[in-house]
Amino acid sequence: MQSVVIAGYARSPFHLANKGALARVRPDDLAAQVIRGLISKTGVEPSDIEDIIVGCAFPEGEQGLNVARLIGLLADLPISVGGMTVNRFCGSSMSAIHTAMGQIAIGAGEVFVCAGVESMSRVPMMGFNPLPNPALAKKSAAYMGMGETAENVATKYQIARAEQEALAVSSQHKAAAARDAGKLVDEIVPIETKGGTVSEDGTIRGETTAEGLAGLKPAFDANGSVTAGTSSPLTDGASAVLVTTEEYARAHGLPILARIKAVAISGCAPETMGLGPILSSQKALERAGISAGDLDVVELNEAFASQALACIKDLGLDTAKVNIDGGAIAIGHPLGATGARIVGKAASLLKREGGKYALASQCIGGGQGIATVLEAVE
């Protein structure tokens, strides 16, 4: 099989939905700016791009109408470049990467922009017209609220509230430290808005303390343990990675971050969807022929602290290697954009921190997991 690499990663700053600096920015404009940033940063020849594959969890309204094509036009890419929107909820833009890899494997192109976008300010979770199937609603937890699934995981794995809060504090502190050390600057594309240029994340709360979090009320279940402080916030943001053959990247002098070694999808019970990464990561690691102990970098999406902790435990991950620059509780989780962010981030970290293997994995509403194993390129 052809070697496929991540040859560039960029994202917008992430901001809290509704009150943040990106609330008034259309998601298609947001993603277009990020893609333009990625192209100028990598120096890839735009006319070589086969397709733009955009992940989006609620592709309607301003992020509807096959937004990928519209983003390509907004970004002034050559008319010859295609556009496809994919939806696997939170796994959407990681699926975009997997799809590109598959396209490359069948000889359907060499260069793909795999992006993700979500304006949780402008398109509500569940969309504008939620119309669940009543019969399915009765027999399955397919439509269960995400917060409730996080409570279920906390109960099943007996993860105490304090434990969740410790993870949240650590995530916030790591993200703030990375930001303060200038480690996030390279990945962020400043976004032009009506209110001026936005070039930093608005989500990170470096001042978070365990005591502060302990004072919050449960967010989803009056008797539960999950709070707003131990959940990823509603976020606006976009991300993109450049996926090419290794051969193309080398021939054109693109900055190779990592090689995609293996990928996997798995299903799990919807009521504990947060456990999704366990099986998908195990499958991907097996396909890569390595074990968790071989990993040097892990990007594990923190949809909720409870599910992240459960996954760390079952996968036997070394917490020192997980979310080195902070996770989604601090950075934010713009649903469709997270997959490309954590793959791009894992690839960048592998380069920055050194080491051989990286894993990016996340849980998906409705009960799925998705995972990508990356390998350093000499």
């Binding site: 309204g61 504008f128 119309l131 669940p132 199937n133 989803f220």
Partner: protein, 774 residues
């Protein structure tokens, strides 16, 4: 006369100044709010900005909408005073110190345009002293405008003009305060305390003195001086707690230093050692550690009262206050009650009424001004002279004389005649020269009470009446207790429609009462439930639906004119009107879920129609349904007419009247404006999501239930509501008619009304006035 008022400046961002600025903004007029530059910090506008920020968090809210808050521009008097040149009225509301006010006026004079009114919100300083040293031009533009706290909610504005004040300037301010800010203007003389506070302070002082002297408990004193006298139930001690006990010595000092030597106030102005001690120890009322009443948090929020004899707090008792006629507004019975109740009532009421009577003509020209001031400034149900009429002027004069007290001149003039009478259908008042004058309503004011004095209703039954208010317009009035709605109201509507259609042009739905209607008569409903008269209940529901739709599709325009509360069925009748002319203080909502029911008189369809037509809504079957579900399932009530518009209870072209007195006139004009070429609205039809939508709403409700924000029974009620709003068994491709939706509404109502937990909610509401969270 210079240009009308288009921009206002308020100087002084304390509670009063900021509140006045908010009310100007509520009127939709830009306002500049200035205060001093703070001694610390780098933000030179911090004081005014802080005041606006604080108001956005205050309850009851000074602002009627968030949009209003944006009309307030903040600044400071060092950097921004020259902006006064852009303003047509400057209201000074700075600290009550003559030197500071005079200094500010000197600076204002240098920057203001000629003809820009300047008024002081002083409550104590005479006008003559304020303008001392100013130019003639400044004096022409100067007056006193004394607002009451909180300025949004208190309707009284006392205006005092000086000998040099230009009549045009005063008229311009008066017009703006009345029409735009919604205040009832009472013209007062330049005397200390003006009218309301002068009489009010006297009343409070008498009440405190008599309670100490006669050894009454605080609770009993307030049980006598509150409701039985037509004052708010806080009585006197409760009121002092509210305004701040520490304010009392200031008021006393101010009045004793400024009132004429022979004023009766000097004789009663006393300080009480207990009150002095309370102030010194920080027990200044609700804002302090406690007052005459307090909640003891160390004892499980126990309600406590101070013992006036010992100065110690003890558990609050329920005082056995006046009973029988004396409790129900018969003032003669009250003051003649044997024992401490009658003694206290006479000491307070007799003294206050005699004092008020002595102030004509020194503080006010006529009895109407004094009565208005006390009703609007102290929320008394009746003014002093209206109360004297109930006691009998001659009786009062005689009792005062028998106790060796002076009899005020106006009482002698009255003799055995009343201060108010109705002559040829017109209400008149007694003047000092012994003749009666008509009470004249300003242009643009129409009172249903006046209409009623002048004629007979076109239709009337136990719960409603129809009046001819002139120019071909009729007024439908609710007359039941709390304006509750019942079968009689519906019957009258059905009778009124052909009558109005054949002989009149339009109808206004209006009542003079404080509250438009709190909804259906729940007492009657529970009675029907108790005797299991299900078919009667269903008839009432169907009858209401029919009557309201009858109004909606009548061949003449119907304009709703609500003020105060318009809840449940009271909200629903308004939703069926062609247009609404609302008083700015409108508390409107479909609150049926709170008593375990769903709207049953067409409210669901009317709200769905409004939201489906809203251009703000995304396409598809769910957004409007979800919005109405959210509003109705949580029994949300608007906190102003502006907010009712945001909630789509009011349509975009419905209008708002700021001054309560002008509501009926404005509504009548609105109705007349719709007469030419009038066509009733076409019946809406709905595309509804059916069971899928109901599932989605159920999931949302479930989330609230898990969060502890919705009770078990809320889930049952909200499911019934969801069934109606999603069209029951409707499929996305079906068209649901208005009639089909009414049927769903009826069925849901009838299902719920039989549920014991709904009945428990209704009973609890009737007993306590509060919702039961079962």
């Amino acid at each position: 006369m210079s240009r009308p008022i288009q921009k206002v400046c308020v100087i002084g961002a304390g509670t009063m100044g900021a509140g006045i600025a908010a009310q100007v903004a509520n009127a939709g007029v830009p306002v500049l709010l200035l205060d001093i530059v703070p001694k610390e910090g780098s933000n030179r506008n911090a004081v005014a900005e802080g005041a606006v920020a604080k108001m956005l968090k205050t309850e009851p809210a000074p602002f009627m909408s968030k949009a209003a808050a944006k009309l307030v521009e903040t600044g400071n008097i060092e950097d921004h005073l020259e902006k006064v040149a852009e303003c047509d009225w400057v209201i000074e509301a700075v600290i009550e110190r003559l030197d500071i006010k005079q200094g500010l006026y000197a600076r204002l004079e240098a920057v203001k345009r000629e003809g820009t009114a300047v008024s002081s919100n002083t409550s104590t300083i005479p006008l003559a002293q304020l303008v001392d040293g100013r130019s003639d031009a400044f004096k022409r533009d100067f007056l006193i405008t004394h607002f009451f706290n909180p300025p949004r909610y208190m309707r009284l504005l006392e205006i005092v003009t000086g000998p040099d004040t230009d009549a045009g300037v005063a008229a311009k301010v008066e017009q703006f305060a009345d029409v735009a800010m919604g205040k009832t203007v009472v013209k007062a003389k330049d005397t200390p305390g003006f009218i309301a506070n002068r009489i009010g302070t006297y009343w409070i002082q008498l009440g405190l003195n008599a309670a100490f002297d006669q050894g009454l408990s605080v609770e009993l004193a307030d049980a006598v001086a509150g409701k039985p006298m037509g004052a708010p139930k806080t009585g006197i001690f409760g009121l002092v707690d509210l305004v701040g006990i520490d304010l009392m010595p200031h008021l006393q000092a101010s009045l004793t230093s400024t009132l004429p030597k022979d004023d009766p106030y000097h004789a009663i102005a006393r300080s009480h050692p207990l009150i002095e001690k309370m102030i010194a120890d920080g027990y200044t009322g609700r804002k302090g550690k406690g007052g005459f009443y307090r909640l003891n948090k160390d004892m499980g929020r126990r309600k406590e009262t101070i013992d006036l004899a010992t100065g110690e707090y003890r558990e609050m008792i329920r005082a056995a206050g006046p009973s029988g006629k004396a409790a129900r507004g018969d003032l003669r019975a009250l003051v003649e009650t044997k024992g401490p109740i009658g003694d206290y009532a006479w000491a307070v009421l007799g003294g206050t009424l005699a004092y008020a009577a002595s102030l004509i003509p020194s503080a006010a020209d006529d009895v109407v001004a004094i009565d208005d001031a006390m009703k609007l400034g102290y929320n008394w149900k009746a003014g002093p002279f209206e109360m004297i009429d109930r006691l009998g002027a001659a009786w009062l004069a005689q009792r005062l004389e028998s106790e060796g007290k002076p009899v005020p001149e106006i009482l002698k003039v009255a003799g055995d005649r009343p201060f108010y009478r109705v002559e040829s259908g017109v209400r008149q008042y007694l003047t000092l020269n012994g003749t009666y004058d008509d009470i004249k309503r300003p242009q643009g004011v129409l009172s249903l009470a006046d209409v009623k004095l002048a004629g007979k209703p076109l239709l009337k039954n136990a719960s409603a009446a129809l009046w001819d208010i002139g120019d071909g317009v009729t007024a439908l009035e609710f007359t039941g207790k709390m304006n509750a709605l019942d079968g009689e109201v519906m019957k009258l509507i059905v009778e009124a429609i052909p009558l109005v259609a054949s002989k009149y042009k339009a109808m206004v739905v209006y009542t003079d009462a404080d509250n438009f209607s709190a909804g259906a008569n729940l007492g009657l409903a529970i009675f029907a439930v108790n005797i299991a008269a299900w078919s009667e209940i269903e008839k009432l529901v169907a009858g209401g639906q029919m009557a309201y739709k009858g109004l909606k599709y009548a061949p003449f325009p119907v304009v709703g004119a609500p003020a105060g509360m318009a809840l449940g069925g009271g909200c629903e009748i308004l939703l069926h009107c062609d247009a609404i002319q609302a008083h700015a203080e409108l508390y409107m909502g479909l609150v049926e879920c709170g008593v375990g029911l769903v709207p049953g008189w067409g409210g669901n369809g009317e709200m769905l129609d409004r939201w489906q037509q809203s251009k703000l809504m995304p396409k598809g079957p769910m957004p409007a349904v979800a919005k109405v579900f959210e509003t109705v399932s949580t029994a949300s009530v608007s906190k102003s007419a502006a907010q009712a518009k945001e909630m789509l209870f009011l349509r975009a072209d419905d209008a708002i009247t700021m001054n309560r007195d002008r509501l009926l006139f404005d509504a009548k004009q609105k109705a007349l404006s719709l007469v030419d070429g009038y066509k009733p609205r076409e019946a809406p039809h709905f595309r509804l999501p059916g069971e899928s939508g109901r599932t989605a709403l159920g999931m949302a409700a479930d989330g609230f239930h898990k969060q502890g924000k919705a009770t078990d029974y809320d889930m049952v009620v909200s499911d019934a509501l969801a069934t109606v709003l999603t069209g029951g068994d409707a499929d996305l491709v079906d068209v649901v008619s208005e009639q089909e939706l009414l049927k769903l509404e009826r069925e849901a109502f009838m299902r719920l009304v039989r549920e014991p937990r709904s009945i428990a909610r209704v009973e609890h509401m009737l007993e306590t006035g509060k919702p039961l969270r079962n």
